[in-house]
Symmetry: none
Subunit: 202 residues, 4 copies
């Protein structure tokens, strides 16, 4: 009563309740049992949903995780634009490190990035839907710095983004070492020393 009303599937299309239960179940299973513990049968059982309902809407379990990721990156990882360039970049890399190493959606992203090494199609979707927009958000902050003269006009934005975030992803995905603020701050400092104006606050 009131609202879109609960239903069990009809000609309007899919059940929103089922959709949300699936996404949440997938997320829960990933955090509780890891990627290998995410099975379509397990999701169906935990979500109280029929397997066929899952297959009707998602081609595979990674598509579920992709959808579960949703707009988490945009929400958590849009660089601030309120302070000096150095301040904003330090804040962003700290947030990125925290997101990747500690948050639930960060765990989803890591699992998908891992699976993408085995699955080129997933890799393409992951990049198109999540990573490219995220890189554009990061590039945008640098672009403004270029416009304001804080960074040189001939800066190659994509490469600049890679120099900043690359080492963070590398530590998280490859070496597994912690990514403390000191590390990310030093990254920003080095970046600004290499390209930046002298005036790098701090």
């Amino acid at each position: 009563m009131g609202g879109p009303a609960r239903h069990h599937g009809n000609r309007h299309g899919r059940s929103e309740a089922a959709r949300e239960a699936v996404l949440e179940a997938a997320d829960d299973l990933l955090t509780e049992r890891g990627f290998a513990g995410v099975t379509v049968e397990g999701i169906a059982a935990r979500a109280g949903v029929a397997k066929q309902t899952i297959y009707r809407w998602w081609p595979s379990k990674v598509d579920i995780l992709l959808e579960a990721l949703g707009s988490d990156l945009a929400q958590h990882l849009t660089p601030a634009d309120g302070g000096t360039l150095a301040e904003d970049l330090r804040k962003h890399l700290r947030a990125l490190a925290r997101f990747l190493t500690r948050s639930d959606p960060g765990m989803v992203l890591r699992a998908l990035a891992g699976q993408a090494q085995h699955d080129p199609e997933l890799a393409a979707r992951l990049r198109a839907e999540q990573l490219a927009p995220q890189r554009e958000r990061e590039a945008a902050r640098l672009r403004r710095a270029v416009e304001s003269g804080d960074l040189p006009a001939d800066l190659d934005l994509p490469s600049a983004v890679d120099q900043l975030v690359g080492p963070v992803y590398y530590r998280v995905l490859v070496t597994g070492e912690p990514v403390p603020p000191a590390f990310t701050d030093a990254l920003v400092d080095g970046f600004l020393r290499a390209h930046g104006s002298a005036a790098n606050g701090s």
Copy 2:
């Protein structure tokens, strides 16, 4: 035919022929069908080996791939020490990019790095056996530069390595973009500009 001759079991220990056939079959399956196509049954069938023989010597299929990787990293990715720091670093990053994106062992490494996101135990082994030694090889070249005065004495070597190779791994594992020499060269230039001596040849 010369050599230890093929045999079907004896009391002298394991069959070297079987071991090699397994490693090669695993490698072949990975390049031909991708990680999902690497199954113990498939390896056994292609190698002409019994499943039990595989389980006798390797706990899982990723252990096979780890062993197949062998010393490929040390062979292909030991930084040169024959030129200027800039020259050696540029050469190394180019080699790293080529190894990761084009070589067969690079494909194995990427698959293992992907699987490591789902399997902490594999992650630990991969780091201990392959990645840590590799990072040490890279740190060694920088250490010599510190000793020769080309880099500042207070340089944090692990962080420095991350700044150099991190963006390369990031492109390969995450964004999937190509890693041309221009990119790696610019990486070296930025690194030297941030930390380096004035003498960064070229």
Copy 3:
């Protein structure tokens, strides 16, 4: 076009068009793909009818087939009463054999008889609606023969019917052998020799 006109639901009661389409679709599917090919979904799709419409009017797919059978038995298998007893019985058993082995409704009856072995409720309905009336039609002809003195007064009619038609059903349902006129004629001859008057035409 003339007639009650096709409609998609109204308040005038059920759609005769839908009913007929369902019966015909079920019959077609049975003859084309066999009993396993008769599914509610398949009937609905072929009849251009919603599944719910089927479930509204028939409890299960066997009820559809039962209704499809309709009065086919009465039409095809009412024993004649125009000749001598021997003539009428021979004609009837020949017609029975032909109906069971060659006709479409005969195929439906065989499928239902088969399914009835797994489904006591169907068995009961099949007997009540189709088989008992059919046996009564056959008994009726014998009863007249008793009344006319062609058969002994103490004849047990049900058993007599079984002796005549039992071997025919047995061949059709169990042994699968052909049921030629010679077989049914011999059946009648034996029956009349066992119970009958001497005067058995031929």
Copy 4:
């Protein structure tokens, strides 16, 4: 311990324990829940056997039931040859009626005969493996009667068998009526009156 020794599958071939457990489980499920309750999953669960083990050795569940039937017909339904023809036939038809209506293997046979109406391949196998040999056993008794002069030399044996057993199967499979000794005895009497010698003892 002595005997063929328990094993879990090896190069000798299949596990006899698994085979027997499957046959028994199928039989139990049929008697307890009916044919629809006989599922491969259910058999596997009850037998403590993997589904794949079932599919490895039996193409379908009806093959399991066919094998479960085994030599039950030969054991229970071989006509006696110790008395007069009339005595032996009466005894046999009574046994047949009891077997079909009351015994477990009789239930299996009825289920298979029912399913055979939907499955021509099963029908062929059922006839070849069970029904034809059974008919031959019955024909054999009649053949001896012919040889001893109790039945006419020109008797068509298959037809004679059909006249005797056909009505019994018909009652069991089609009308569902009981098949009391009075019915089968009358059947024998009629048969002997139609074809037989005067000497129909009892």
